[in-house]
């Protein structure tokens, strides 16, 4: 599936990263879309988490509440986005602990704590395969800016 994303949502995502990560901590954002129109990303969510240099963990109570909220608003998580200090790639931890375990789920990594220009320069996009492994995919093959 190719997801449509607005520039405003991408900017909001970078704002979360810069404000929360302070250029020294990892942080995550989630892109949601309604089940009636899954290809249209309509919401950016900044999860409650504990961050430190080298990683982040989502708050368990927040995750429970968020799971119920997803049901209430009839939305699904299409892409998890997080930042790395330097190069963008998927670590073993990133591979093992995604928020969604479904073939086709996307994980986008933004380099340099998202302090660079708003966009996908040097970003890394990977996708869950039917066997549960991750495979890098070209960003333009899955995400389109509108």
């Amino acid at each position: 599936m190719i997801y449509r994303l607005t520039q405003e949502m991408l900017e909001t995502t970078f704002e979360h990263f810069r404000h929360c990560g302070h250029g020294r901590e990892e942080c995550q954002a989630l892109w949601l879309s309604p089940w009636e129109e899954p290809e249209a990303i309509t919401r950016v969510v900044h999860p409650k988490h504990v961050a430190e240099f080298g990683g982040f963990v989502l708050d368990d109570a927040w995750l429970n509440a968020f799971w119920l909220e997803l049901g209430d608003i009839n939305c699904g998580i299409r892409v998890q986005v997080h930042i790395h200090p330097h190069e963008a790639f998927h670590s073993e931890t990133d591979d093992a602990f995604p928020i969604i375990h479904r073939s086709g789920f996307l994980s986008l990594v933004i380099p340099n704590f998202a302090l660079g220009p708003v966009g996908f320069d040097d970003a890394y996009l990977t996708e869950i395969q039917p066997d549960g492994s991750w495979r890098p995919v070209p960003i333009e093959s899955r995400l389109v800016m509108t």
Binding site: G54, V57, D60, S91, D94, F97, R102, I128
Partner: protein, 136 residues
Amino acid sequence: MLENVCRYPSEAVVERLREAERGLETAREKEREVQKEIVEAEAMVAKVIEEIENPRIFTVEVLYDGVKKPFEVRIEETVKHLLDKAIRAFGPLPNPHTLSLYKDGKELADTQTIKEAGIKPCDVLLLRPSKVKGGV
């Protein structure tokens, strides 16, 4: 010798008394039957209330990624059995071992039965990863 023709109580009155006594016995028999029916009805009411409060088979909902699906469960089944059913229904979900069921914010132990886990009819259970994290 003259026959005594005056009897008290009279035959007619004695007969009325016998009739009344038979009627009383019949009424008492009916009362015993009704009493038995009341006891049976009370037992049935208690049984139905017990079934309503503690049903053996009922439906719960499982929520994954914003989608709810109904599942019929039996109180003696394990949570793992329901978890496997949910993963198949929402699937294919790779790496199913990373997923668990949650009720009232708490992760349910796979080995517990539905009854032991305190799962009730119409409960909404969350199917979600036990941990979500990332890092270099």
